[in-house]
């Protein structure tokens, strides 16, 4: 029977219904309509792309175009003390963001110092020690919950914590750091966890087989291998929180002078500065004031500060991606 089949393939079809395949051929008009539909979707998708690009490009373009107007060395190196209305300061500028840059750096640095070690060690626990137990599942779930905390709620938390523990009216930069670290922590845990997971198990085994303890295997082999990815993840996490505004308004407040002390007194930050200047909108110029008094200066300062902020975020993003790419540990796998 088998032999028959191979000799005459048609034999197996004996008795099967005769098919007129021409019936199934798509009609010419149907093919054309499919083609039209394909073309229409192509146009629609490209159109969606173009339409969506308009506002996005506009955001970038207006920030750059309006921002460069006031962005200069003077703007970067002075704070807002001695700025009266729209009049120029003795230094020749119209006030600046020096104090806000210091505040942003210190507060974000504080958040880094809190959340990176905790987040990293938590990831180490999840990947190296927990082996997917009940506790690990709970922690993973709670990290997810945490990543959904709205930034304003993080601000409320830090504010409540400091008023309850230290007393009412305690406004300082560190409270801002606490709020930001709460927002940063889940990102750090998640990205570090991913990076630790992709370190091949072979390397751990190789290290154990050399008689190396678990702690040294983790610190010197696993973390070392995952380092570029972890650093990149942390930088991206910083870039995410460095522009947070709402929690800082509630915790660190706003002042016009430079405050270097993270733990005492109000602290200005770049995003809050942008918001403050935006809310001010216009500066007073006496009718007698000359042309050097600029009534729209708050808006211009706001744009310039926004540009500084965007630049910081973009640079951080660039560095983050570069670190991941350049220092990636080459492995055959």
């Amino acid at each position: 029977m088998m032999a028959d089949l191979t000799q005459d393939p048609k034999a197996s079809l004996a008795g099967a219904p005769v098919i007129d395949f021409d019936k199934f051929k798509p009609s010419r008009s149907f093919v054309a309509s499919r083609k039209r539909k394909d073309m229409a979707m192509r146009v629609l998708i490209s159109l969606a792309f173009v339409v969506a690009c308009i506002p996005l490009v506009s955001v970038l373009w207006t920030t750059i175009a309006n921002g460069v107007k006031r962005l200069n060395l003077n703007f970067l190196s002075y704070n807002m003390t001695g700025v009266v209305g729209g009049n120029p300061t003795p230094s020749g500028g119209y006030g600046g963001v020096f104090h806000a840059i210091i505040g942003t750096l210190e507060i974000t640095g504080g958040a880094m110092i809190i959340s990176i070690p905790i987040g990293l060690m938590c990831a180490v626990y999840l990947v190296e020690y927990a082996h997917g137990g009940k506790l690990a599942q709970t922690i993973t779930l709670l990290v997810d919950v945490m990543s959904g905390i709205p930034s304003i709620v993080a601000g409320l938390f830090a504010f409540s914590m400091f008023t309850i523990l230290i007393g009412p009216g305690s406004v300082n930069g560190f409270a801002g750091s606490v709020a930001l670290s709460l927002l940063m922590l889940p990102t750090v845990v998640k990205s570090s966890e991913e990076m630790l997971k992709i370190v091949p198990g072979d390397l751990r085994e190789a290290s154990y087989a050399l008689g190396v303890t678990k702690q040294r295997t983790i610190t010197k082999i696993v973390l070392r291998t995952a380092l570029p990815g972890i650093v990149s993840g942390c930088i991206l996490a910083i870039a995410r929180v460095i522009g947070e505004t709402a929690p800082l308004i509630m915790t660190a407040g706003f002042i016009v002078s430079t405050n270097f002390n993270l733990f005492d007194g109000k602290m200005a930050t770049l995003p809050v500065y942008v918001y403050q200047e935006y809310s001010t909108l216009y500066a007073n110029c006496a009718p007698s004031a000359g042309p050097e008094c600029v009534a729209t200066i708050p808006m211009e300062r706001s744009w310039a500060a926004a540009l500084v902020l965007i630049l910081i975020v973009l640079i951080l993003n660039g560095i983050g991606r570069l670190v991941a790419k350049v220092f990636a540990v080459k492995s055959e796998r």
């Binding site: 751990r204 190789a206 040294r216 291998t225 540990v329």
Partner: protein, 259 residues
């Protein structure tokens, strides 16, 4: 010098599952002992109990004893970490540390154990281990290149150099050639022959010709059915195993009728 290993009534469990049943075997010092058998028979598992590497998997434990030169590795006061310094291991796939150079890879065992080592001692140790692994002439001019840049066979010999640099008494090899091409395999097999002067070598292989070529003794592991525990079926010197086995299953296996 190599040390002898005696395994007495060893049962290996993963959680409640008995993976390997009642193994008794005496591994002679300074000889090559090969473990062969069909896949799933537990030969790699037994190998890993000889330096307590199986304990990395949560829930894995053993009953019975493994005596290294008379000292039970599973005594309460024995630290598994120190066992692994006396018993080295080489894995199926070459796994040099990707962040380290060739030189650092060789020194990894010593450095990771937090030993300060002077530059000249380090140089000597690197040369000694790489010569021991037949790799010195190929890499002596590029010791600072990454270990991951070598060919597969060179990487495996680098891993052997890394293992011997800790100066173990016993070397365990888990299918060390299965990921290598024939030429690299030959180089590693030659190396194994040389190394047995200094170490006791236990090698797991799925390649019976390889066992016949390099082993002095051969242990044949088998399992009754899938899901049943594996066991040691037959242990003999290699000539007997492959020419005149006194065991029906072993005879069927070495003549290629199953497995």
């Amino acid at each position: 010098m190599g040390q002898r290993i005696d395994v007495n009534h060893l049962n290996i469990y993963y959680g409640n599952f008995l993976a390997v049943e009642d193994v008794n075997i005496n591994i002679e010092p300074n000889k090559v002992t090969a473990f062969i058998g069909p896949s799933g028979c537990g030969k790699s598992t037994v190998l890993r109990t000889l330096d307590r590497m199986h304990e990395i998997i949560p829930g894995a434990h053993v009953k019975g004893e493994v005596l290294l030169e008379g000292k039970n590795l599973y005594d309460k006061d024995v630290d598994p970490v120190s066992v692994r310094r006396d018993v080295g291991m080489v894995f199926q796939r070459p796994n040099p540390f990707p962040t380290m150079s060739i030189r650092e890879n060789v020194l990894a065992g010593v450095r990771l154990n937090n030993r300060k080592i002077s530059k000249s001692d380090a140089d000597d140790l690197v040369e000694w281990a790489l010569r021991g692994a037949n790799l010195w002439n190929e890499v002596k001019d590029r010791l600072d290149n990454p270990g991951i840049g070598l060919s597969g066979g060179q990487q495996q010999r680098l891993c052997i150099a890394r293992a011997v640099a800790v100066h173990p008494q016993v070397l365990l090899m888990d299918e060390p050639c299965s990921a290598l091409d024939p030429i690299s395999t030959l180089a590693v097999e030659d190396l194994i022959q040389e190394l047995k002067g200094d170490y006791t070598i236990v090698i797991v292989t799925h390649n019976m010709q390889q066992a016949a070529r390099i082993a002095d003794y051969t242990a044949f592991f088998n399992l009754k059915a899938v899901g049943q525990p594996g066991h040691l079926e037959y242990f003999a010197d290699t000539t007997t195993m492959f020419n005149n086995p006194q065991n029906e299953e072993a005879e069927r296996y070495v003549s290629g009728r199953f497995g």
